[in-house]
Symmetry: D3
Subunit: 326 residues, 6 copies
């Protein structure tokens, strides 16, 4: 169950007029944070116990992708396990996994559910697992057929069913991508797949015109589900990832109520512009405390960073700069 | 319920040593068989009433893809409706469909189930519907998220669940493709996705080295499920589709017991070599009668053809020319 | 000036329900019609003198592209010069041309104007020339910057200016293409470029969803300018070219009044399905006589063919099957 | 009319042996210079009034591209309007524009003419406009059909006609590109298109072997028109843009008298190597004062920079390092 | 040793004005000539014993590529072994071969040497073998590193060394390709690699503008080595292969004395236009008898065909239609 | 002959746990080290005379690639000639070279042998030369046919023959690549080509899953030949080059005894992450002294850097982290 510990926070810097601002301690987790890592990024953080727990994407120096558990008292200084998570059987006996990356994590009812991009027979789809204590982990049936990435669960059932966003993909560096929502009565069989939103038609909002993908676990606000997501533009030198926000209908999240036309956070700091993959801001988790939100994002596919904002201001911004339906 | 009417049949021609041979009446359905059609191919045929019923892919002259019902006393001479099938709501109120193509059809328990490639928001996935009488048709929830093609149901439940093969794809002329099986307790939610088989590693069997896809509805034999499928090679002038066969385990069809290394039928007749897409043999349906099988296949993405064989000989051939596991 | 000679004509064959039907003499000009030719196709025909004159694309056996003059009494049996057209200076001293192909021809006021795809410094743009007698030919300034193809003049001035359709392209086998109209006071300087129409959004009319290009010189009807054009779809084995028709506003041809959703003529005859480039129907010229129209089209980038129809029926068809604005 | 105000200038740094050197104040305009901007780069500067005026490409945080007016007393410290330029009708009633980017600006006879890459129906071509006072702006007919970029006017008529350089392109991140010149009697109709120069044959000068494009408005010297242009090489990680110079014949600028084999300025400073598009130096404007020249260039598609040089030294360098005609 | 048996021959058909004409018996070997074959094409023929021997590319129905020995009394009616050639060790113990295709064969000094495209670790290079009797075959070291295809030996040593032409390639359907010659003192180590000729610069001779490859074993004439080779053009629907001829310097075959600008034989017969790969004419062997030459070529990657000509006329044609050095 | 001068060395920094660590003086040679250079990287260093000699890749400001001789007393501070090496004829009269890059150098028996990527007719292959004194240089026959890169000689004969590693390539930024070894009795004719190793199957070791290439001249250890090589991964923003090590069998170097699964040195320092080609570590030479090794590598295709390690530790690491044969 989620606690009431204070989330990491820094006030808006003097002179800053941004709705979302960076932590002065960025990157809070460096690429070599554990002995075997080549890079640590695109990771999940939740409240747990007296502090926080996390599931971290640590690519090792063979550049094999796996996910690792970690713990922190303050959400800033992290102890990450030196070995990847070991999995027991959840609702399946089949826990084949060629690789794991880009985890998300959320509490639903009685446990923490984790989703990630799971390599089944080497093809990417959405892996599901759960833990009660971040010590023992149980792997379930993959949610979907390949090819899929960026599976993100809603933190409570909707109309009595589990709900998950995902982004159908192809087998490579997919140059397209829409966000869908799917439902399950039991975390094993999935259906009722509905389209939420896709890339924007050029030139409405070019930073998200190539593909988009769900980012952080959405949380409920008076306006509906607030989610931070990533959008991608294709420059002559490759992909550039930035972060926006969307507000989805509480009861039918396939209805997009509002969606940012401008990005909220784009690659501009040195640690976002330079790294294993230059020009990447990739949100994967957020913590809320009253009107405050702390967003965890991967930077340049290399390190973990934080950004802050006021939820009410973000909602205002999304509504004023809405491009949904345009 | 399926009848006992004689299936279309021609004896093996004198001098022919092939395991599978073409009908002398090919193509049995020409591209302009109905007034609006540009091409009729990749279609489904089942026993029905006193004869046969079918679901036909007829692309019209706007080259819009849709599926049409048809009836035949002998399985050779077909009356195809001039208008595409109209759908009522089955287990869903959402029957959005940008296009429909490549139908398959099979009787399960109490009705005929139809699957096809369904354009949801313009993205290809597997559509599901049913009919009791080939007059009224009911559309259900799409089985999977895009991108998917070649959804083929097993003709009976396996371990108490519906089972469907499909081929995860991308958004274009997909240059890869494996066959998976998925299960559903209710034809609405799907899971337990398992890999069946993929393209062959070069140069084991190059006609199926680019991608493969399920073809005809499998039928039970003493050896297991016998299915005709298509395999694709990429020549310097594009894709070439040929037909092979596989035998899958009765209780766990993700186990491939045998699979043809050589093709059973490759493009060689003029109507297979020339047409809207040259060099295509694409099996979608079969009828059995004792040891005889009649295979319906699309030729050159233009017309419908038939081929014949003896099931026992085909099983022999698949076992002797097995490449599964190699 | 254009004469009143009877155009080539064959009545609609018994049983045929098509709006446009093929000549029984197709292909009327074979690939080896002149000693040096590899192929003759995509050519222009006009009334001239006591019969007809033409400008023919003859690729020679080095597969160099050039255009040749020809004459015919009946429009069917053609004498084509063995040497390509030699050009004198028209409104320019610069008549550089790396290659010439896909000519169109029309009488305007006092002379026959010819347009073609002209290789300037090896880059394709629209060449312009004129002749009074099909013996002496004068080359003018290229109309546009590269890259451009399918330049087709209107047969009279519109609002006092010459008007030309064209299709901006890229440097290769362009996978996109819209039809524009541009204006010139003097056949030397061009401007006022306006978009007419582009490929159709999938799946409205897939035969024309990759690119389209102006085809025959438009002619005036009570409904506006009637033009036959080509549309292209990309199959897994390459491009397929079919023919449609559009009716453009008399005074402002950038306004598309009607446009065929189904094609009028698609590759289906052997000489259209097989050749140097399979599956091509490419209209370049038409002759009218009362309600009759004879369309000249290139088939399979290999030979010249003819098709026939009644103008009133074609107008009816275009209006009933209109997809403009959808 | 242009004034005599001193241009921005810094002497060559001690120890520097370069012909062109960077400003120590680079980048002089940062990406977030105005509240809505994501990046400000590839912009035009001219003398105006008591100082300087400019037209700036500011992509906003929706990454929509538009151009903005700005004013400066010293050419270094700029006030840029917070809203993009609003246009009135010049020689056309059609001022459709999906987007605007990469402006250039020059005084001709009685007004300032501005050119830019203009999105007509979403397809890039060359937009033209003028202003007398940088307060009211008038948009004219697009110069050319799509696809085109980098339109740069000569600052005076040549042989009585307006002259513009441009680079015919394709619909994406064009991997080819030559510089052409076109002429117009009236800024409305354009013709007499002539090839100036293309990418260099490998390995003559590899920094400009993929494509080139006109950069700054040329100015007259004793040797002819001196222009700074950009050249592009394709590395395994994308495009790299550097700056060279060319001298064109005064009366017939399609004659290239000299052209730099080595680049004059290549990406090497941190603000050129890192940004939204790494490794870009993109010159768009220059100011002259006696023998001094100040070049404005976009860096990394992110900010505006300046470089300096002596015109006489640059001419010497171009002549000594000439690769024209090789 | 080569015999004096009459080669296959048909006189030039009445009315035919071609320098090279097709056999009326084409295709002389059909795709299903042996029980396991999918296609038989691109094969080598030499005089042997009382008639002829051959090495045939027979792709089986698994579309595995291998080479088979065959014998014929007349060069037209062939008995081809049902099993591929088995190899003993020649000058190597390493006879790994993933696949074999496109053989050529020639007598040098004391034995028949065979070259082919050999899959070493699945990567194409040039395999070498020899036989004295077409019963026992010995495989030698591969001549070159991958990636290479179309290795063709000269039929005698040049300057005391073996000489082989080849076409360096890439790992797929290579879109480029030049002919080189390399030398060896011992058929084991190769060096002194020299460029012979490459594709023609567009638009000199477009049928050979994408790539070219050595075809038949060259034979000495008074003018030098006469070789038939293939050239390829890329149409919007893929590659098209045609046949030309070149005359190389007797002592230094890297010197091209003459080379056909027009092709000698292009795909135009139905069996060349239609098949597994449409539009392919691919010469691999020739037989000479006085002034007569019989050329064996693969058609449409499906069957084996023959064409005829007079050597003196071909030499005349090559000299008159020379494009070498242009 | 090689001397006993101390190699450049820095002890492992305090706290560093890496097997290989960077020089604190990196980059030791900057991009503008000589007046004409755009970049200096991927260069060879050997012991010579009283110190060291080197062959350097210096791309000039025309971005022409050539190699230059240099000398240094300490291996850190280098004097590089301002003009590229001039070549006399070695074992050939043909020393055509369009460009030269990525040199390697080693002493064998009586002289220093140099190999590089040599542009023959503009196509990359392996050039060979030698020098006795780094003043006079002699060019030999190219080792192989194009397309090849990364030719690296063994520093002594193996089984009486010269041995060279190389990486067969294609004509562009090759997206594949294996390391081969070839043998020569005389440095002129080459054969007995054997595959050493290729990219790793995903996801065994993703940093080397696109292509690999030989790096430094191997040196003998008790375990066999120790070589540093580069491996490449394809990110969504291009190639990333890192460094690993392999140990090859002393007598048959095609046998890979051990090979690093993790990289030894990946791009992480600013000068490796940013430059003309971001994210490149490319080893080309090493110096040994007892258990110490100094590795020279190119960084970001821009400058020359050094790294250090203990040979015994590296061998340990390679053996413990072996992925050969997996």
């Amino acid at each position: 169950m989620e606690n009431k510990v204070n989330i990491p926070w820094e006030d808006r810097p003097a002179g800053c007029k941004e709705v979302v601002w960076r932590s002065s301690q960025n990157p809070i987790i460096d690429r070599y944070h554990i002995p075997t890592s080549n890079s640590i990024f695109n990771s999940a953080v939740v409240r747990y116990g007296d502090g926080f727990a996390g599931v971290f994407r640590c690519d090792n120096r063979s550049v094999q992708m796996n996910i690792f558990a970690g713990r922190s008292a303050d959400g800033i200084n992290w102890e990450i396990d030196e070995n990847p998570i070991e999995w027991k059987c959840g609702n399946t006996t089949m826990i084949d996994s060629t690789y794991k990356y880009d985890p998300r994590c959320t509490w639903i009812e009685d446990r923490y559910w984790i989703t990630w991009c799971n390599g089944y027979k080497g093809q990417p789809t959405i892996g599901i697992g759960y833990t009660f204590d971040f010590k023992e982990f149980y792997q379930c049936e993959n949610a979907f057929l390949p090819f899929n990435r960026n599976g993100v669960l809603f933190p409570e059932k909707i109309n009595g069913k589990y709900a998950m966003m995902s982004r159908p993909s192809d087998s490579g560096h997919t140059p397209f991508g829409d966000i869908y929502v799917s439902y399950s009565p039991d975390m094993k069989y999935w259906g009722e797949h509905r389209h939420i939103m896709g890339p924007t038609p050029f030139p409405l909002s070019a930073w998200q015109c190539t593909k988009i993908g769900a980012g952080t676990v959405p949380f409920l606000t008076d306006e509906g589900w607030l989610m931070f997501y990533h959008g991608v533009i294709t420059t002559c030198n490759g992909f550039r990832y930035a972060m926006g926000a969307a507000i989805l209908d509480r009861d039918d999240p396939s209805k997009v109520l509002y969606r940012t036309q401008p990005y909220l956070l784009g690659p501009a700091a040195p640690y976002e512009l330079v790294g294993d993959v230059p020009n990447v801001v990739f949100p994967c988790a957020s913590l809320q405390e009253g009107d405050k939100v702390c967003i965890y994002y991967g930077a340049a596919d290399t390190h973990v960073c934080m950004a802050f904002g006021y939820i009410s201001e973000i909602i205002d911004f999304v509504k004023k700069n809405n491009c949904a339906g345009k």
